[in-house]
Amino acid sequence: MKKLLASTAVALLSLTAAAQAEGKLSIYHWFEYIPQTLLDKFAAEYDVEVTMDTFDSNEALLASLKAGKLGSYDVAVPGDYMVKIMNGEGMLDTFEPSELSNFGNIEKQWVDVAFDSGRKSSIPYQWGSTSYSVNRDVYTGPIDSLSVIFDPPAELKGKINVLDTAGETLTLASLYLGIPQCSADREQLKELNALVQKAKADWASFGSDVAKDVLVSGDAAAGMIWSGFSAKARAEGANIEYAFPKEGYIVWMDNVVLLKDAPNRDNALKFMNFLLEPENAAAVTNYAQYTAGVTGTAEFLDPEVANSPESNPPAGPKGAFVEACSEDVQVLYDAIWTNLKK
């Protein structure tokens, strides 16, 4: 028995040692966000062994990098405001546009972005929006306003799922009230607090990962959701419609960033360049049903993905990026959130 244990331990040790070999790429990614076939394609094309770990929120990514995982991954895929935060924390490495032959494929509007001006550490991955969807079998009224979530009609009371993240839920609430993000104004914050407290009575559940599942299964008749998730729910048979409310909705962009102390910097850049190929960017879009920030993808897209109502916002309602608040303001929003879930 002892011998067996000892030899197993030795085997385990040698396995971990082997993990330091050449020709590797280590990705830290959202779950269910890249098709395995695309990773295999990259691995075959560049003869690189690809491993991927997954996280389930921007904050979880930051927490685990901060707790000591920085230095074990080459690239990660944070959302817009998180790119800015990670840059502020000194977690990102920089590259020159000349190091990526496909840099020119980035759509013009996504090159000089507020969270990484000139794209020194990141490239676009996918972008989409956060709003809500409604089951049309249950509710047939208008869905042009965020009031469907925050002051719901009778049919939807007690059948609403909201995202379980303070950032997205409170930002949508702020849009509904028409108050600026990261406001420190007392009256506005009290109003915000009162709104979500009152609305909570009409909510059935809080959940982010389950946002699609609750709509497909009918556990919820309306729910805050990301655009691609809503499209997938529709494809799975839910009779839902995605709303672009007049008060505004959230726009976000996920980005592939080059991490500081990346063990395989060269392969990381190869991978980023690979993802800027229109065909590969389109493969991600077909899988996740968001939109690539890369030119020339149109010919590779599935028609139903390219034409999905979720990815083609109407003119009129405005999308807004989530802002990263300063410390003294963030504390207030955290307090409102804790208060909501106490």
Partner: protein, 300 residues
């Protein structure tokens, strides 16, 4: 009970304990002590700590200064309420597990030796499937449009779905389902050892069923019950899968509150550490009282 101590092991206590002390001491006690230190440090925005002494974390836990922090401090009920709710939930789950688990363990332990292991494995086999999958499939089963409700409605027993999902009952069911074998196995191990000749002897001496239960059987199976209760209660206290997936995550539990501090937007490590330390203190007190009473029992 074991009664006096065997002379074989007298004096070797420390030696026998050493491996466990070493491994838990170095790979858990040290990290936890680090967390204890963290709870007295200043928080760094978005996770991490600044090495400056501060009581802010404990202050936040116990005192309420209003949303903007400028009102006179009064006792903060938010976090105490969250703790109380978690303890209540875990307590109910423990009782449910005991009520169902004890008869099950008893039944299994009183089968003939050959079939015992089959029953035992029947109870543990579902646990080869990951807890998350089990919880999600429980959700799948009991949701309004799920097989359970469809079956009951098709067979005409109910006319409307039971509405189990996103209720406290669903959380209870989930906790019960998650931790049942933790109750069954220790009780089984204790009952299996029980010599039924003892209760027959007691019955021959005209002891009633209740007397036999209390005076003859209970002392033998008590360690198993206590071990089972600890094994169910403590993990239930920090559980977050059942409250999140079956309860709809509408309110924080201790587990999700602490998780939010480390993984959520708050990123307040000292506060998360302080809440953990308070939880740890509560559980530790319960266990120490238990250990003391054990030692006293031995000295008697």
């Amino acid at each position: 009970m074991g009664g006096g101590s065997s002379r074989i092991y007298r004096g070797n206590g420390v030696k026998l304990m050493l491996p466990s002390w070493l491994i838990i001491g170095s790979f858990l006690l040290l990290p936890v002590m680090m967390m204890a230190v963290y709870s007295f440090l200043t928080k760094e925005f978005r996770g991490g700590v600044i090495w400056e002494f501060s009581l802010a974390a404990y202050d936040q836990f116990f005192f309420d200064r209003g949303l903007f922090g400028d009102e006179p401090p009064k006792l903060e009920w938010t976090y105490i309420g969250i703790f109380w709710r978690s303890i209540w939930q875990a307590g109910l789950a423990t009782i449910a597990c005991l009520l169902i688990g004890f008869p099950t363990a008893w039944f299994i332990a009183t089968r003939d030796p050959k079939s015992r292991s089959i029953w035992l494995f029947l109870v543990t086999i579902p646990y080869w499937v990951n807890l998350l999958i089990r919880t999600v499939s429980m959700k799948f089963l009991i949701r309004d449009t799920g097989p359970l409700n469809e079956f009951l409605m098709a067979s005409g027993i109910i006319s409307e779905p039971l509405g189990l999902i996103n209720t406290n009952f669903a959380v209870q069911l989930g906790l019960f389902y998650s931790y049942l074998p933790f109750m069954v196995l220790p009780i089984y191990a204790a009952v299996e050892r029980y010599d039924f000749a003892l209760s027959e002897a007691a019955a021959d001496l005209y002891a009633g069923t209740w007397t036999i239960l209390r005076l003859v059987i209970l002392p033998v199976v008590k360690p198993g019950i206590i071990a089972g209760c600890i094994l169910v209660f403590v993990p239930s206290l920090g559980a977050f899968l059942a409250p999140d997936l079956l309860g709809g995550a509408k309110t924080f539990m201790i587990g999700s509150l602490i998780e939010e501090q480390f993984k959520g937007s708050a990123g307040n490590w000292p506060f998360g550490a302080a809440a953990s330390m308070i939880l740890l203190t509560i559980v530790m007190c319960v266990l120490l009282v238990y250990a003391r009473s054990q030692n006293k029992g031995e000295a008697r």
